[in-house]
Amino acid sequence: MSVVAETLSEAQAGRVATKSRLAILPALNEEGSVGRVVREIRAADPGFEILVVDDGSTDGTAAEAERAGARVVRLPYNLGIGAAVQTGYQYARNNGFDIAVQIDGDGQHDPGDLDRLLAPLARGEVDMVIGSRFCGERRYRPPLARRIGILLLSAVVSLITRRRMTDPTSGFRAVNRKGIVLFAGNYPHDYPEAEANVLVARHRLRLVEVPVTMRTRETGSSSITALRSLYYMVKVSLALFVSVFRRYPALED
């Protein structure tokens, strides 16, 4: 047992030494696209270590990711997107990463935008950067119902965070060490993105949006269906409402 513990801490120490960036890809049954996304990230920025969090897939997602050269953490069963992403942040925290980027495993985010996403972090201006599909020139136009939902949500999130948020549901984001530690310890569950923004703002971390391009899905299907989006709105509204009445301690460096 002590041998295992020793080799574990050794392996950990070896990785801590390298100043580092981690790409977190949550993936559920994305065997058709996850390999390509991993290779694209590697091509866009070879400095990234890539971690695929397989959220209980029943297809070859984990094998495809490993073949493409990613590290893979396999959750024992489906925990939901929030917990999957949080597992990635826990990995980043445990292994001493300085920067973590969260990018969907289905290929809808363009790894070509990574530079733009990381720039404000590199300049030390903010603690979290969110890739927004709505604040650039090449805007993405979702279906009407979803557009209304996103507008409502961004109004609420903007109100709570006291800054203009155009895309509160974006799952394309980057955080520094402070953000990694925050998310590793505390990350919302079911539909986490909007709540995560509020969490960051309420902990007095600085956040900013940068424009990114949205690609249409390559394979698989969106996790948000018509009936679920109603549940989504109600659940997120409740969570956001409650968050106003919670106390959030300022984080130490």
Partner: protein, 124 residues
């Protein structure tokens, strides 16, 4: 005044409930922390069925014309509280379950990697 028969039936039911809870605790099938609310439920029902005057005054106070209904009101209120208590217990359990699954997955990945690197080292 509550009819005597209702009081007797309610008292027997309450005593049966209390005895059942006690037996479950004794045989360690029910933790004390979850039993407390149930014990209170049983005790309150027993209290109102034995002291029938109190039930009458209580139902007058909250405007219930027929005192035995007050017994049901009290009982169902306590049951709601017990159910709510369960929801919090379930929330806590699923929170812990989640944390365990995450820890397990990370450890598994780490172990796999260190085994692989160790194998590499022994081969060279």
């Amino acid at each position: 005044m509550t009819p005597l028969r209702i009081s007797i039936v309610a008292a027997i039911a309450a005593i049966f409930l209390l005895a059942l809870i006690f037996e479950l605790i004794r045989s360690r099938r029910l933790q004390e922390r979850y039993a407390l609310l149930w014990l209170m439920t049983g005790a309150v029902i027993l209290f109102f069925s034995l002291w029938r005057g109190a039930l009458g005054r209580f139902s007058d106070l909250i405007g219930i014309a027929y005192p035995p209904s007050a017994l049901f009101v009290v009982a169902s209120f306590f049951m709601l509280v017990v159910l709510l208590h369960y929801s919090t217990a379930i929330s806590e359990l699923s929170e812990r379950n989640l944390a365990l699954a995450q820890r397990l997955a990370l450890l598994e990945q780490q172990l796999k990697e260190s085994v692989a690197s160790q194998r590499e080292r022994t081969e060279t």
